[in-house]
Symmetry: C2
Subunit: 213 residues, 2 copies
């Protein structure tokens, strides 16, 4: 298992103490109880710590791996992605805005005439443009989009948890799902086959939780 530094320190403290309350762990780490709560929940959830009312936390020697969690790591983007919603680089910002409304998406994958990935445009990009004095009907998407190679992408075969981590780490709401190849000129090309979003992850989370109700 791969715990965060803070989770490892918590485990060390509990091991050393035999049994200790959450408040005391927090005091030792110079943190509030509220800050620690998610770490304690995760450690308890995975059976590393045991929580008993009024007694506190203790360390559990033997933690069995859960088959459900093993399978969770094997879920692939291809099974949970959404259909791609693309727009041409030459379309206006106004057209992109309308497309986001009609398709009810928070970002569009921008493609060239050959339908290959050239960039991404988000609600945030459009809001930024609307703060300025530019004419949304005249300026093409290509001017304000985030352009390749500064795009975070995923592939159909990537595990869901790893794609979800990209969403969190890079603070984006959506990743284009691509199939890449090298063309006759030696250039990397990316065909857009879907999009993977925080909505997909949230839906999967609910599905998993509900199946246990």
């Amino acid at each position: 298992m791969e715990w965060t530094d803070r989770q490892q320190r918590i485990v060390e403290i509990v091991k050393d103490s035999g049994s200790i309350t959450g408040e005391k762990i927090a005091a030792k780490l110079d943190l509030t109880r509220a800050t620690l709560r998610p770490d304690l929940t995760i450690l308890t959830m995975f059976g590393v710590l045991e929580a008993r009312p009024r007694v506190g936390y203790s360390y559990r020697e033997n933690t069995r791996p859960s088959p459900i969690m093993e399978r969770l790591l094997q879920l692939r983007v291809c099974s949970y992605k959404s259909m791609p919603v693309t727009i041409l680089e030459s379309a206006s910002i106004y057209e992109a805005t309308v497309a986001m409304f009609t398709q009810n998406v928070g970002s569009l994958t921008v493609v060239g005439l050959d339908r290959l990935l050239v960039g991404m445009i988000s609600r945030k990009d459009i809001m930024k443009a609307s703060l300025g004095k530019i004419d949304l009907q005249q300026v093409p998407v290509g001017v304000i989009m985030t352009r390749m190679p500064n795009i975070y992408m995923t592939t159909p075969d990537e595990p869901v948890y790893s794609a979800a981590k990209k969403l969190v780490q890079h603070q984006v709401d959506s990743l284009p799902v691509v199939e890449g190849y090298v063309d006759e000129n030696g250039d990397e090309c990316y065909e857009v086959v879907g999009r993977f979003t925080k909505t997909n992850v949230t839906k999967l989370f609910v599905e998993i939780a509900e199946a246990r109700l």
Copy 2:
């Protein structure tokens, strides 16, 4: 356990067949293999079905509940929410846009002078406004926001999975986390104590998955 109608039909088909391939299940339900894949994954993940290469799916009589999944259902919004980001109803749309940028959030909780919840404003609302010919510096947030009582909310004590379900069902990116009370006039009042977003769910999903690596 509470399975969807389609998942229940899949289980019936597999029970009746003894052993059956994914393609044949799909044919019986008049669906593509790709459409069925998430259901088959969930059913396999929870040990209801067993998948064997080249043989297909079979039904498993005894499925043990997983302690990890039980604990997943007990996680509360209070442990995973973010700090609230609020704006006054009288602020301009322009100010709201700037606040979204500086705070790096996709929506703001709109409050009255008494700091109680009156509405929500999202990037989508602002994009819609910018399509029109209105002056973003002159029009107040209150004109374009979604107003109470049409706001989906959560509370610190709500289970995470249930708040996540609200995000999916109502197609919103963020819920205000509120503490409600009835004032001396008998009106329901909501104090804003946080926000709960698809980002919070995605982070939790990654945390759970990573803890098993």
